[in-house]
Amino acid sequence: MNLVKEEVNTRLKRLPSIKINTISILVILLAGLLIFFSTQSPYFLTTLNITNVLVQVTTIGLIAIPMTYVIISGAMDLSVGSILGLSAVTLGFLYESGTNIWVSVVLALVVGALAGALNGLLIARYKMQAIVVTIGTLVMLRGLVYIITKGKPISGYPDSFYFLGQGKVLGIPFSVIVMMALFSIAYILIKKTRIGRYTYALGNNEEAVRYSGINVVKVRFLTFVMSGLFAGIAAIFYVSRYASAQASAGDGIELDVITAVLIGGTHIFGGRGSLVGTFLGVLIIGTLRNGLNLMGVSVLFQTVILGVLILVAVSRQNK
């Protein structure tokens, strides 16, 4: 008889058309921010500044891509900032000790993916809680980063390497092109391939996916490897842009990334979300940070606004 009741209840509960709503709200929010900041600073809407915003968001944008997958699949990765730091100093350390720069880049990416694999192994294979595991790796990897660098930044890279983070193709910064390309690929993957289907289904009902004969462990593992790899990619662009690998690179970036994903409409408990939303979320955070910078608001106060944004975004989901 329970079933009867349950069915009636679910039939009454109309599923809200969250996606369309969220996307249009985000577009309006972004437009509002653009208008507001342009009244505050004449510099805001210049091509130079817009390019600047786009370049700045590549770091969180790149990491937000796999984070969207991770959160949709019902998990969480707090260690991305530390993985970024680890990849960055790996790159610096290897190059400094005489490795070819491009070999160093590849190895830095491998290290990022391996760190993600460690998370994935513990979470997917051994069923540990994603949040606690990634808090653990957050602390551990950051410690490792400081041990490697002894706190000193590693600078001085070949000019060809600077192209990644500073160069332009047809007037568009190369890093922005890469981010857009990866966003597009990820969009196609989540929309049109079975990887996307599995990701959503995993977040909605992991048991049903398992009972459908799908290797749940593998899918979840891959999302975490991707998360690590993309943090590595973000690290490469980061080092190239700032011409130096600091131990503090990426510290606290998980807040920006998770905020972007959550305000982009991805549901904190998984199962729902979109990359378009995440992309808009990334732009909103980039615009907000840039605009507030121009207005002279301190970085710490900006994080207060991000914190409030997270709470608002998630409260909205619970209704």
Binding site: M1, T10, T193, A201, A208, Y211
Partner: protein, 504 residues
């Protein structure tokens, strides 16, 4: 024995309507102090609804409840508990991290001294006294997670008694117990009866009822069929009362089925490290499996489909195959319709389309990209074939009726084009109309050469559908019934037989 002649509880004309369904229709039920009153009926007969009303979980739509000749309103479980009505569910509600005594007295004012400190010695002493009053010997200071199932049940009973329970509802109390602990539970129940507690004993198990109950009430289709003294009824009578008239045309004609060579041979196959089974399945056959909760039918299904790891190979079309995971099983043409469609069968937030092709996404992808066209065609085909009632294949599964949801799960597995289909409880929680349709579909599938393993706890379903029925008991296949040989009485007897041997 202590048998007072005034009923402690009278339920009169209890009716319960859910939107669209009448779960109970004018049921009368009387209970006397110091009696064990068995409540029997098939799944869906209304037993649990009646007990949920008595324990305050549900409110009846018509009728009245008299407790000690006074009318009472049981709005919620706390009120019922305070009035001395306690229920012990099949699944215990215990705190594994707390001691037995604390589980009994958690959050109760009685054990808090004036200073606000918990009076541990008093709590432990009272817990000990309570458990001893029902003849159980438990270290009440041990954490519950380290106690056995019987002890956990004793703690649940002691908790009820600590509220001065005068009426105790026990829902399938033997289901969770290993067989050697059932007798201990009986001793506890007898002790309770001697203490004057009225016990409602909900069970399927015929032999238990005759061992422990004083009276038995049978429900069927939401109505009361009979109340008898246990000495004045027989197993046969009870079963025929429970079953009622067979609904003849619910089941399709199975005489047309032809079986050929065997497709699946299972020899000494480990379902756990302790239990092995052997059987074979022929092409086009519907092989029924019957067993009570804990008999191992579910474990067997999960083992064959590779969801549970273990040792042993199965022989499929003459080849010996080791199945390590569901992928291996699906490669061999095995499909498995799980018993719980809400948790295991469906991603209810997704559309019919996405659910139906979940197991075959790889097959319908070009490289990585899912072929939407092919997906739509497959959906159209199966929506039509199974006559799933939906406005479109993009409909979210949540919004479908139970019967149609179940058809989606069935379709999902048919898209894998299986040779062997294991179905567990294929008609659980669907209405009679949808049942008949699902039976018709199963029959058609077997006529088209699909071999089916049908695991069910609904005996009429098994008898109506199966060509052979294997009965499992305590992890072993204990008997085989050919078509026409089985009836409910025989099935029940075989399924609960070993407990008989234990007790006698």
């Amino acid at each position: 024995m202590y048998q007072m002649d005034k009923p402690i509880l009278i339920m009169e004309g209890i009716t319960k309507e859910f939107p669209g369904v009448k779960a109970l229709d004018g049921v009368d039920f009387e209970l006397y102090p110091g009696e064990v009153h068995a409540l029997m009926g098939e799944n869906g007969a209304g037993k649990s609804t009646l007990m949920k009303i008595l324990s305050g979980v549900y409110q009846h739509t018509a009728g009245k409840i008299l407790l000690n000749e006074e009318e009472v309103t049981l709005n919620n479980p706390t009120v019922a508990q305070e009035l001395g009505i306690s229920i012990i569910h099949q699944e215990f509600n215990l705190f594994p991290n707390l001691s037995a005594a604390e589980n009994i007295f958690i959050d109760r004012k009685e054990i808090i001294s004036a200073s606000g400190k918990i009076n541990w010695s008093r709590m432990n002493a009272e817990a000990k006294a309570l458990t001893e009053s029902i003849g159980a010997d438990i270290d009440v200071r041990r954490e519950v997670q380290y106690l056995g199932v019987h002890s956990q049940q004793v703690i649940e009973i002691a908790k009820a008694l600590s509220f001065n329970a005068k009426i105790l509802i026990m829902d399938e109390p033997s289901a969770a117990l290993p067989e050697d602990e059932v007798q201990k539970m009986f001793d506890v129940v007898k002790q309770l009866r001697n203490n004057g507690v009225a016990i409602v004993y909900v069970s399927h198990r015929m032999n238990e009822i005759f061992k422990i109950a004083d009276k038995v009430t049978v429900l069927r289709d939401g109505g009361k069929v009979s109340t008898n003294k246990i000495t004045e009824t027989t197993e046969d009578q009870l079963i025929s009362e429970m079953v009622g008239k067979e609904v003849g045309d619910l089941y399709p004609d199975k005489t047309k089925r032809i079986f050929n060579e065997s497709v699946l041979n299972v020899n000494d196959f480990d379902i756990t490290s302790k239990h092995k089974v052997s059987f074979s399945l022929r092409r086009g056959e519907i092989l029924g499996f019957f067993g009570l909760v804990g008999s191992g039918t579910h474990t067997l299904a999960e083992r064959i489909f590779g969801l549970k790891k273990g040792k042993g190979t199965v022989e499929i079309n003459g080849k010996s195959i080791l199945i390590k995971n569901p992928k291996d099983a699906m490669k061999q043409g095995i499909a498995y319709l799980p018993p719980d469609r809400h948790r295991q069968g469906l991603v209810k937030e997704s559309s019919i389309r996405e659910n139906m092709t979940l197991p075959i996404l790889k097959r319908i992808s070009n490289g990585l990209i899912i072929d939407k066209k092919a997906e739509q065609v497959i959906n159209e085909e199966y929506i039509e074939k199974l006559s799933i009632k939906t406005p479109s294949q993009n409909q979210v599964v949540n919004l479908l009726s139970g019967g149609n949801q179940q058809k989606v799960v069935l379709a999902k597995w048919l898209t894998t084009k299986p040779d062997i289909l294991i179905m567990e409880e294929p008609t659980r929680g669907v209405d009679v109309g949808a049942k008949a349709e699902i039976y018709r579909l199963i029959n058609e599938l077997s006529l088209s050469g699909l071999s089916i393993i049908l695991i069910s706890t609904e005996m009429p379903e098994l008898i109506g559908m199966s060509d052979r029925i294997l009965v499992m008991n305590e992890g072993n296949i204990v008997n085989e019934f050919k078509n026409g040989e089985a009836d409910q009485q025989k099935l029940l007897k075989e399924a609960s037989n070993s407990i008989d041997k234990m007790v006698v």
